[in-house]
């Protein structure tokens, strides 16, 4: 009788150990599967953009329009890779070489607002203006110049690189004063390739469908 009970306990223990091993292996397999999926996937998604049904094709398609605007001189000229803003339709370095400065508003006697007024100055190629004219600050450069569509899409939704913007703030940013200023250029400057309304629609479509980045 005793031997039977001992054997029963041994069998139960063996079953428990086996089950634990199987479960552990299962969990490990699932984990590695997910890791592989993530690393193989070139798409990324805004973490809190989960309310609506996602459409990666529509998202990537919309981003193509967004990218065409962001890389136009009206946007890119103030998102340079260096500390000197860009100028003109060919995005050359700003004459006089004004520098970004810590807050993005220039340095010493070369602050942006010393020349750039709250509004566009009259005359061909006179300084364009806006009450908030500045570059991104030195600790959050938000570079557009030289970025591929893939790189820029990933950068735009990374709060560590986009000025700590969440989904809501990103959507609101379509109507930011400096963004809108791109469609009110001073004399002699070209408009972005699509209207602001089209841009805003594409921007929101891209974000709400998961903010997928185009393939590299």
């Amino acid at each position: 009788m005793k031997n039977k009970e001992i054997n029963k306990n041994v069998i139960l223990k063996k079953i428990t150990v086996s089950l634990t091993v199987v479960l552990l292996m299962g969990a490990l397999t699932a984990f590695s599967y997910n890791t592989k999926l993530t690393s193989a996937n070139n798409y990324i998604r805004v973490p809190d953009a989960t309310q609506k049904k996602k459409d990666s094709v529509a998202s990537v398609k919309a981003f193509a329009k967004v990218y065409s605007v962001l890389m136009s001189p009206r946007c890119m000229n103030c998102h340079p890779k260096g500390d000197v803003p860009l100028q003109g339709e060919d995005s050359h370095l700003h004459t006089m070489q004004p520098k970004r400065g810590k807050d993005g508003k220039g340095l010493y006697a070369m602050k942006c607002a010393n020349c750039h007024q709250p509004e566009n100055s009259p005359g061909l190629h006179a300084p364009p203006g806006n009450p908030n004219w500045h570059l991104p600050p030195s600790d959050m450069k938000m570079v557009f110049e030289g970025r591929t569509a893939h790189q820029l899409a990933k950068q735009l939704i990374d709060p560590k690189q986009n000025g700590h913007k969440d989904m809501k703030k990103l959507i609101e940013h379509a109507d930011d004063g400096l963004v809108l200023a791109g469609w009110k250029p001073a004399e002699g400057y070209a408009l972005p390739p699509i209207s602001h309304a089209e841009f805003k629609k594409a921007w929101i479509t891209w974000l709400e469908n998961g903010a997928y980045a185009p393939k590299p």
């Binding site: 006089m96 010493y108 006697a109 070369m110 602050k111 007024q117 709250p118 006179a126 300084p127």
Partner: protein, 156 residues
């Protein structure tokens, strides 16, 4: 009517609010030390201080300047003895002199914000002030001398 506070004094002027501040300063108030160079903020000859910032008065509207402290070269110091002015005189910086009120006003902002500027700092501050006589080496030297004058004045 617009009221401009220039060099500590209030001036009531009859001018369109869109008039460039430079016009008001020179043609209405009669302070002609500030010069007209290009008219499109490209040369720096017209630099004045607006609440301490080195704005280009040729593109700054009268409307922007209202309620703010405007300082022109005439008001930079009481006796033309701002450290930058002393340094300018010490090594005779100007040649034709046309751009130098703007140069001095820009240099004054640099020294206020950076009492010990490096060559790079000087470039960063002064690259927007053009001198067709090419007095740039003397401008650089004078700014360093001015920094020294300012440091001595601060110590004593």
């Amino acid at each position: 009517m617009s009221v401009l506070k220039i060099n500590g004094q209030s001036y009531t002027i009859d001018a369109d609010e869109n008039m460039p501040l430079l016009w008001a300063i020179r043609d209405i108030v009669g302070l002609t030390g500030t010069k007209y160079g290009c008219g499109v903020a490209q040369c720096g000859a017209c630099v004045v201080h607006l609440d301490g910032e080195a704005v280009r008065s040729c593109v700054t509207k009268v409307s922007r300047a209202q309620g703010k402290q405007i300082t022109t070269i005439e008001g930079l110091s009481k006796n033309n003895d701002h450290p930058v002015q002393q340094a300018w005189q010490e090594i005779d910086v100007p040649q034709c002199g046309y751009c130098h009120s703007g140069q001095i006003m820009s240099a004054a902002v640099l020294l206020r914000e950076n009492p010990n500027p490096s060559d790079q700092d000087i470039d960063n501050a002064m690259a927007g002030n053009i001198c067709r006589c090419g007095t740039y080496p003397r401008i650089r030297n004078a700014i360093k001398i001015a920094a020294e004058i300012q440091r001595k004045a601060t110590k004593s």
